[in-house]
Amino acid sequence: MTEIIIHPSNLLKGVSTINLSSLKKNKNWTPYLLIAPTVIYYIFFWLNPVIASIYSSFKGVDGSFTLQNYITVFTTTSFGEAFGNTAFIAGISIVIEFFFALALALLINKKFKGSAIFLFIAMIPMAIPAVGAAAIWKTGLTAHGWMNSLLYYLGFLAKGEKLLFLSGSKFSILWLVIIIDTWQVIPSMMIILLAGLQNLSKEAKEAGYIFGGNGLTVLRQITIPMLKPTIITAVILRLISAIQIWLIVVMLFGFDRIPLLLERVIYYKEELPRLDNSYQIASTYAVITSVIVTIAAVVYLKVSGAFDISKKEVM
C-alpha cells in the first residue's frame, strides 16, 4: 500500500497553532456550510457502512441478534493463528523499519551531490502498488525466479542449487514477508524522518555540543526529542497499515496458508461464500481488526506521549 505522508508540523499547524487574531470569530454560518458536505459524506459513506458491518457481525443466520459469530471466530483455531501472525509481522516489521529508517536518516542527514536523485529513487518503492510489489516478489522468489538467479551469478549458489523461498516453514515465511515489507517501507519512512531532521533548528544541537555533550547524548537528549512529532506520525501511519497487511501474503502464498486478520475477512467473503454465515464471519473479523487497530494506535499514542504534545501545542 502506498503510504501517504504529510509532514507532522504541517499537520498540526492546520488546527492547533492557529493565529487567533486572523480568525473570524463572529457567529457565522459559513464554516458550518463548508464542513457540511464532509459531515454528510462521512455519515453516508463511512458511518453507514461501519454500522452495517457491526450490525451484521451481531446477526445470526436467521436474522436475530446473537453473539454466536464472535464465539465462532474466537473458538476457531485460525483466529489465534491469524492474530499471532499479524502481531508477529506488524510488531517486528515496525521495529526493524523504524530503527533502520532512523539510522539511515541520521547518517544521510545532509545535502550531498546527487541527493535529489537519491531521494527520488528512495520514493519509488512506496509508489509501487501492492499488485506491482506482488509481481516483483512472485517472479523473484519462485525456485526459478530472479532471486535464485542473482544468488547464482553472485556465486552464493552452486549450479543446480536453489533456495525454496516460498515453501519454507511458517516461521521462515513470516520472516520473508517482513523482509519484503521492509524493502518497501524503509525508504519512505527514511524520507519522512529525513524531512523532520531538516526542519530541526541547528542552534539547539550546537548548544548541546557547546555544553559538553558528545554525539550520542546530543542525539538522545536533543535530536530525538525534537524529532518526536515526526516519529509519532511516521510510526502511527505505519502501525495502522501494518496490522492491515494481507494482499502481498495472499498473492505470494494463496489463501489459508498464512492466516492474517484481514486475510480472514477476504477469505470468508470471497473464498468461502457458500457457508450460511460467511458474510457475518467476515464482518466479525473486520470489526475485530478495527478494534485491534484502534487499541494498538491508542496504546502507542499514550505510551509515546503524543497526547501531551498535542495538548501543549493546542495551548
Binding site: H7, N10, G14, L34, I35, A122, A134, I136, G140, V265
Partner: protein, 350 residues
C-alpha cells in the same frame, strides 16, 4: 593536517558506499521486474535467468528428420540448441512468435529454406519483439483496456469528489473557529482505522440501492472516504499559509467571498491542491481490495493485474509485464510530484 584529509576522504567514501548500496538494494528487484518483462517465454524458463534480456537471436535452419530443424544460438553454452523440427512453416513461425518473441513470417522462412538446396545450413539473425509480453498481456487479458480506462475514470472522479468536499472543509479549518472543530479533526483521522474491506462489504448493498454498484463512480465514492480526510489536513495547512489580509483586501475592493476565493486564494493554493489531487490519484489507482469486492463485470486495472499475477504461476514474464504496467504510471507520477512532496515535508529539497 594530512591525517585530517585522509579521514575526511575515508568518511566521504564510506558515505557514498552507503548511499550506493541503498540504491542497489532499492533498484535490484525493480530491475529484475523490468528485465523479466522483456524476456521471451523460453528465456523466462531458463535457469539462471538471463541478467540482460537478449535484443536479438541467432538461428540455424537445417534439414531434420520430420522436415526442417530450427536451432537457436545459446550464448551461455556457446552452441546451437534445437528448438523445433517440422515441415509446417506456419507452425514454426507461430512457435517463434510465442516462445521466442521473434516475428518471422512464413514467406521469410520459406525463403531461407529454399537456400537449403545449395547449402546444408542457413544462418539468420532476428530482432526480438521487446514489447511482446505487453502486447500479449493486453491480448490474453480480456478487459485490460476498458479496465485501464475505468481506472482512470475512478481516479479522476476521486480527485473531483475529495478536492471539492475536502477542500471546502480544509478552508473552514484554516479560517474559522466553529463548534465541533476538534472532534471533527480527530474523527477525520479515525476513518483510516476501520479497514477499507470492512467499508467495502456493506457498501455493495448501499451502492446497489443508489445504482452505483460495479460502476466507477461507486468505487470513487468509497476511495474518497480516505482521501477526503487527507485533503482536509493538507488543504488546511495550505490555506493557513495564505495571508487572510490578501482576501480581506480583495473584499474591500468589492469582490464577493466566492470571487475572492476563485481569483485570490485558489491560485495561491494551486501547488498544494495539485499534490492533494495526486495523492487521491495514487490511492485510487493502487487500491485493489475494495475494487475486488465492489466490481463484478467491470473491474479496474488493478483487479485485472491482480488476477493475472495470481494466476500466472507458469507465465512469470507476463506477470512481470502486468506488474510494470501497474507500477509505471505511479513511478512517473512520483517523478512528477516529487517537488510538491518535498514542499510538504518542509523542503528536503530537490
Amino acid at each position: 593536517m594530512w591525517e585530517n584529509t585522509v579521514s575526511k576522504f575515508a568518511k566521504k567514501t564510506l558515505f557514498y558506499i552507503l548511499i550506493t548500496s541503498l540504491i542497489i538494494i532499492i533498484l535490484t528487484p525493480l530491475y529484475f521486474l523490468v528485465s523479466l518483462s522483456f524476456l521471451s517465454s523460453r528465456e523466462a524458463y531458463q535457469f539462471p535467468l538471463p541478467l540482460v534480456p537478449a535484443i536479438s537471436s541467432e538461428f540455424k535452419l537445417e534439414k531434420g528428420d520430420k522436415g526442417y530443424m530450427l536451432s537457436i544460438y545459446e550464448k551461455g553454452d556457446r552452441e546451437y540448441q534445437t528448438m523445433i523440427d517440422t515441415k509446417d512453416m506456419e507452425k514454426m513461425s507461430t512457435y517463434m512468435r510465442l516462445q521466442l518473441s521473434v516475428d518471422v513470417s512464413t514467406e521469410k522462412l520459406e525463403n531461407y529454406i529454399s537456400k537449403l538446396d545449395q547449402q546444408n545450413e542457413v544462418y539468420f539473425k532476428s530482432y526480438k519483439g521487446l514489447l511482446h509480453n505487453y502486447k500479449t498481456f493486453f491480448a490474453i487479458t480480456r478487459d485490460a483496456v476498458p479496465a485501464l480506462i475505468r481506472s482512470l475514470q475512478v481516479a479522476g472522479l476521486t480527485i473531483l469528489i475529495s478536492l471539492s468536499i475536502g477542500g471546502m472543509a480544509g478552508y473552514a479549518f484554516a479560517r474559522y473557529i466553529f463548534i465541533g472543530k476538534n472532534a471533527l479533526k480527530v474523527s477525520v483521522l479515525f476513518v483510516r482505522v476501520f479497514p477499507a474491506v470492512a467499508i467495502a462489504m456493506p457498501m455493495v448493498i448501499i451502492l446497489a440501492t443508489i445504482g452505483f454498484y460495479d460502476k466507477p463512480i461507486g468505487l470513487s465514492l468509497v476511495y474518497s472516504v480516505g482521501t477526503i480526510a487527507l485533503t482536509i489536513w493538507i488543504t488546511a495547512s495550505i490555506f493557513l499559509g495564505i495571508p487572510v489580509e490578501l482576501e480581506e483586501a480583495a473584499q474591500i475592493f468589492g469582490a464577493t467571498k466566492l470571487r475572492t476565493f476563485i481569483t485570490i486564494t485558489a491560485p495561491l493554493a494551486l501547488p498544494g491542491l495539485a499534490a492533494c489531487a495526486m495523492y487521491a490519484f495514487i490511492g485510487a489507482w493502487n487500491e485493489t481490495v475494495s475494487a475486488i469486492i465492489l466490481t463484478q463485470f467491470n473491474p479496474t486495472f488493478a483487479v485485472v493485474v491482480y488476477q493475472s499475477v495470481l494466476g500466472a504461476t507458469d507465465q512469470v514474464n507476463l506477470a512481470a509485464a502486468g506488474g510494470i504496467l501497474m507500477a509505471l504510471p505511479m513511478v512517473l507520477f512520483t517523478l512528477f510530484i516529487r517537488k510538491y512532496i518535498n514542499q510538504m515535508w518542509g523542503g528536503v529539497t530537490a
